[in-house]
């Protein structure tokens, strides 16, 4: 279907961007460095235990075969060997345990950062992004960090430590064999680059193919009704097959090359083992007359052979985890893009000006614009008495919403001051009703206690009846303790808005701000909303709402016309 499809790839991230993402990942790592260090420590313990295991194995074999020591005399060595195995297993187990903990903490930190940013952004700016996108960042992108912190990052360090330990030991045993390993060591950064490039390309290619295939497939599933209407489902199935097959062939061409890079690592590891085995064999036979080979014994020879695969193993593991890095970089760049968005909300509640009268709302010379060339409100001064019901009317884009947002403290004015009953906007609780009602999955009581946690059952029921949801409540078996949406039947837009209004009733706020409270409502809901607002007005609440609705305008005892950046009594 001809809709822009969401593309999760951050393939075109620039170098500067990459650097920023790396910096951000490093910051996260610093926050959990204790767990990362523990992971590396456990991995190192496992590595050392592996080396000891190999030393004991070679020792036992040497003693038993060359020196023909009876098995019974080898018992201490055997026990030591088993101990080394157990330590190795413990090291491995704790490594994954610490890694899991580390990733857990990193994800929590990242989520906290994102949430702090949301709060700093404020409800108005946040409303510019879709809830789905924000949720994806908060859930999926943060999840994508898991592999990097749990696997790649510790393995990065381990793939330096363990091979170096092994190399040192092999050098001590036989420097020529050490040189064989060392010869491959300068190649290791090269391997890494090769593997990295290969893995990155592989990952990217794989990702593109999968997302294209998914796109094609989902496109057809989404339009299945249309295909059925034209009787074309069989043709579409054939098309999916053909397209998939086509992508497969293209992908395989790249994969054949991409897999070569990891084959190179595999090849060097295998060849190094073979070369070392043959060198040691010839050395033991005495065929090699130079170098340290005449000192070779079955012990040292066998030990070098046993250690050679362990030398390469950390690198092979690292190459397997390489895609974790790519995934974290991709997700990280999108999260960072969000975190780098400017915030200007916090200033609103920080405005420490507690002067002004306690019984009125005052705006003094307030100005607000969004871009330098566009001023929404200019030099606005306005006084609203406590208990007044104010209707804001005027053309759309005239600044009604901006004025409400300023009163709510959802944004700060560029110039001037706003005082609400002697306090700064946003510094006390008030009622807000947006154009969309808001409900959470759960019972009616859950929904109302969201903003008033200690409300009594009776108060909740009264509030719901006040907004005309009484009959709906009566039809539910468990009253306020029945789920709001039952059997897939949700609330209509009007009912949802009334639910939000019920929260305002329940909380007993002094100030209530409402953005077009009746826009787009069915006639039933409209009547109930009007009635409810009337009740609130009678109860002496200060109400400010934007509207075009005639019945609401008559409800107000003061109508303000907001137009062209100015506000005057209508």
């Amino acid at each position: 279907m001809a809709e822009p499809s969401a593309n999760g790839g951050g393939e075109n991230t620039s170098a500067a961007d990459q650097k920023a993402v790396k910096g951000w990942l490093a910051d996260l790592a610093r926050g959990s460095r204790l767990w990362i260090r523990s992971t590396v420590a456990a991995g190192t313990v496992a590595g050392i235990a592996t080396i000891i295991q190999m030393v004991l194995l070679a020792r036992i074999i040497h003693l038993g075969i060359i020196d023909e020591v009876p098995v019974a005399d080898l018992t201490p060595l055997f026990l030591g060997l088993i101990l080394a195995l157990v330590v190795r297993a413990l090291g491995q187990g704790f490594q994954t345990r610490f890694a899991a903990r580390c990733s857990e903490q990193v994800r929590r930190d990242a989520r906290r950062q994102l949430h702090k940013h949301w709060q700093a952004t404020g409800p108005v700016e946040l409303g510019q992004s879709s809830a789905g996108t924000l949720a994806r960042e908060w859930i999926d992108h943060v999840e994508a960090l898991h592999g990097y912190f749990a696997r790649f990052l510790p393995q990065m360090t381990l793939s330096m430590i363990v091979p170096l330990l092994i190399l040192a030991l092999v050098f001590w045993l036989d420097w020529l064999a050490g040189i064989f390993l060392l010869l491959s060591a300068p190649l290791i950064p090269l391997f890494m680059a090769l593997v990295g490039m290969g893995a990155e390309k592989l990952n990217q290619q794989h990702f593109e193919t999968i997302s294209r295939l998914s796109g094609q497939f989902l496109d057809k599933v989404r339009g299945l009704t249309t295909l059925q209407l034209f009787g074309q489902t069989a043709g579409a199935a054939e098309l999916i097959r053909k397209r998939s097959d086509h992508y497969r062939r293209i992908t395989m061409k790249t994969l054949r090359v991409a897999f070569l890079s990891s084959a190179v690592l595999e090849f060097f590891a295998s060849v190094a083992i073979a070369v070392i085995a043959i060198y040691i064999g010839f050395g033991l036979l005495g065929y090699i007359t130079y170098g340290p080979s005449e000192d070779l014994t079955l012990f040292s020879g066998l030990l070098i052979l046993l250690l050679a695969p362990e030398f390469f193993q950390p690198l092979r593991t690292l190459s397997q985890h390489y895609h974790d890095r790519a995934a974290a970089m991709g997700a990280g760049s999108e999260i960072l893009e969000r975190l780098d968005l400017p915030v200007n909300f916090e200033t609103a509640s920080e405005m420490a000006s507690v002067e002004g009268s306690e019984d009125r709302i005052e705006l003094r010379a307030v100005g607000k614009g969004f871009r330098t060339d566009q001023t929404v409100l200019k030099d606005l001064s306005l006084t609203i008495q406590k208990g007044e019901v104010i209707a804001l009317t005027g053309p759309s884009g005239g600044g009604k919403s901006t004025l409400l947002h300023l009163l709510a403290g959802f944004m700060a004015p560029d110039t001037g001051e706003v005082h609400l009953f002697g306090e700064a906007p946003g510094s006390f609780r008030f009622g807000w009703l947006g154009q969309k009602g808001f409900l959470v999955q759960g019972t009616w009581a859950d929904n109302l206690r969201l903003t008033t946690p200690d409300a009594s059952d009776i108060a909740i029921e009264t509030a719901l009846r006040n907004v005309g949801l009484g009959s709906l409540l009566d039809s539910r078996q468990q009253g306020i303790y029945s789920p709001v949406s039952e059997e897939g039947q949700g609330l209509s837009g009007g009912q949802a808005r009334r639910l939000s209004l019920a929260r305002i009733f329940l909380a007993d706020y002094d100030l209530i701000l409402l953005d077009e409270p009746t826009a787009g409502l069915d006639s039933d809901s409209e009547v109930f909303v009007l009635e409810a607002l009337h009740k609130l007005a009678v109860a002496g609440k200060t109400l400010v709402f934007s509207t075009h609705h005639q019945a609401l305008l008559t409800l107000a005892n003061r109508v303000l016309l907001v137009s062209g950046g100015e506000v005057r009594d209508a």
């Binding site: 297993a89 009704t225 054949r256 085995a277 064999g281 009622g431």
Partner: protein, 538 residues
């Protein structure tokens, strides 16, 4: 495991590829083990011969065979590994195609109403991830588990041949336990955590979306902090369950690794007894423990895959549930239609399940060739009525008969495909001339004649973007190409400006010559020419 059956059947439709792929993996694993084992044998042999030579005893050793074998295994491990990866990725991509095509066929058999419930963006993204979970079933789970079993058997047989049956049984016992820990054990300890992971994540997503939608209200009430803390706890529960599963997988991996290593120790211990009794030579004594150490690598990939099996099973059962075939709502038939009548609805009710009926006792009789307009404001249920007339939605009561029809739905649905493919849906046999003809009538010919690919212009996100009005006209053109004698048009001119609408509407008069037309709209200006108009109230 029953959930997997339909998908396993699909996977096993390619036995040849699976066997070849499995053989390549096996060859890689065996090469790796053999490389180390033969090297160990060779070093021990040379050490012993070297000692004899040093002592002046005449001894000979065949360097050719073991040397050659070591070189061969070093190369074969690399080559088989490479071939295996290329070949098996190809297989996975083929399976991916098979699974998608099969799933699509099943979905197209599923009832339209149920699919209506199952088409939200969330459902689609979940469908994708569920399918992905099955794509890798063979490569991640089936092949490694089967081959680990096979290699284990081979090593145990080797132990019986080289050492004795008693040692082989003991080693075999340890290996079987290690294998169980790495497979069944992991599955049993993680399936619950892993199966509900996806549901937990979806619940969390809903909660996050609710939080963001309620952000202004929560901010006003000073509750964002509290609610966010609750969200963080929910998220933390999901991640900590995941961490728990990961940790269990890790311990099982370590445990199975420990047992594999222990089996090598046992083999060495038993081997010494045989060595000192003279039944086993030194080099052979070394060969078996080293081969056993190599098994650790074979088992290493299992725990992770089995840790995800719970999630894979949950995916499979979701797909089985959502994509089950079921009866289509009976398409209204022309049978029982009086002559010269295109549609006859008697006493029908229109209702969505779980909701109050939109209409009851609705009657409509339309003569062949008649042009009927149906007007109703938004929310009056006219699109549902159109769905019923077209047969997309089953009517609750009464009877409905009509001739073959073509239906332009209120929502414009174009596919990410070429313009030609999108138009041919309406009339698969249409020639290019016919296609250009209809585009001309819809005032789109010029728009596409200037595109480099003309009729093959790609529509959709990857290609040329159409405006709402253009997309609507493409959809309209597709319907007009169709030969069905009854045409149902729901808001045919959405997104068209008044002038274009007037011209297109006029041309449709001739294009629809001789056909019966039912058009539905919110206002009379949005209707093409009509003979009579029905007003829907409420």
């Amino acid at each position: 495991m029953r959930e997997l059956k339909p998908w396993l059947d699909l996977i096993f439709k390619r036995p040849g590829r699976l066997v070849v792929g499995g053989f390549l993996i096996l060859a890689t694993l065996l090469s790796g083990i053999a490389l180390l084992a033969v090297s160990g044998w060779f070093i021990t042999e040379t050490a012993l011969v070297g000692l004899l030579l040093a002592a002046g005893v005449a001894a000979t050793i065949n360097l050719y065979v073991p040397g050659g074998a070591i070189r061969f295994f070093a190369v074969s491990r690399t080559v088989f590994r490479y071939l295996e990866r290329v070949y098996n990725h190809d297989t996975v991509l083929r399976l991916l195609t098979d699974i998608r095509v099969a799933l699509f066929r099943r979905l197209s058999q599923a009832s339209r109403i149920r699919r209506g419930e199952l088409s939200g963006a969330q459902w689609l993204s979940r469908l994708t991830s569920d399918v992905d979970a099955l794509d890798t079933l063979y490569l991640r789970l089936i092949a490694p588990a089967a081959l680990a079993g096979l290699v284990t058997l081979a090593v145990v047989v080797l132990a019986a041949v080289l050492f004795d049956v008693g040692t082989a049984l003991l080693v075999g016992l340890l290996l079987v336990i290690a294998l169980l820990i790495a497979t069944v054990g992991v599955y049993l300890r993680t399936w619950r955590l892993s199966a509900r992971q996806s549901d937990r994540q979806e619940d969390l997503r809903t909660a996050v979306i609710e939080h963001i939608e309620g952000f202004p209200e929560l901010t006003a009430a000073g509750r964002t902090g509290k609610h966010a803390a609750w969200l963080m706890r929910q998220a933390h529960q999901v991640t900590s369950e995941q961490a728990k599963a990961d940790t269990r997988v890790g311990w099982h991996l370590a445990g199975s690794h420990l047992l594999v290593n222990l089996s090598a120790v046992v083999a060495l211990w038993a081997g010494f007894a045989l060595f000192q009794a003279g039944t086993v030579s030194g080099p052979v004594l070394v060969l078996l423990p080293i081969a056993l150490l190599g098994l650790a690598e074979v088992y290493a990939m299992l725990p992770d895959a089995f840790g995800k099996l719970g999630a894979t099973l949950a995916s499979a059962s979701r797909l089985n549930r959502d994509c089950r075939e079921d009866k289509q709502p009976g398409t209204p038939k022309a049978a029982g239609l009086p002559p010269e009548t295109a549609l006859l609805a008697e006493n029908i009710s229109v209702k969505h399940s779980g909701y109050a009926p939109l209409f009851t006792r609705f009657n409509l009789e339309i003569e062949s060739g008649e042009r009927v307009g149906i007007l109703g404001h938004s929310g009056s249920g006219k699109s549902s009525l159109a769905d019923v007339l077209a047969g997309l939605l089953r009517h609750a009561h009464g009877s409905l008969a009509r001739t073959d029809c073509v239906y332009l739905t209120q929502k414009t649905v174009l596919f990410e495909d070429t313009l030609r493919a999108n138009l041919l849906l309406g009339s698969p046999e249409a020639s290019d001339t016919e296609l250009w003809g209809i585009l001309e009538q819809m005032e789109l010919a010029e728009r596409f004649a200037t595109e480099p690919d003309q009729l093959d212009t790609w529509l959709g996100s990857a290609g040329s973007r159409l405006s709402g009005g253009e997309a609507r006209r493409v959809a309209l053109a597709r319907v007009l190409l169709n030969p069905a004698p009854l045409v149902i048009l729901d808001e045919p001119f959405t997104g068209l400006d008044a002038e274009t609408r007037g011209r297109v509407s006029k041309r449709m008069e001739t294009l629809l010559e001789g056909k019966t037309v039912i058009s539905l709209a919110h206002g009379s200006e949005a209707l093409p020419g009509t003979d009579r108009v029905i007003y829907l109230s409420g």
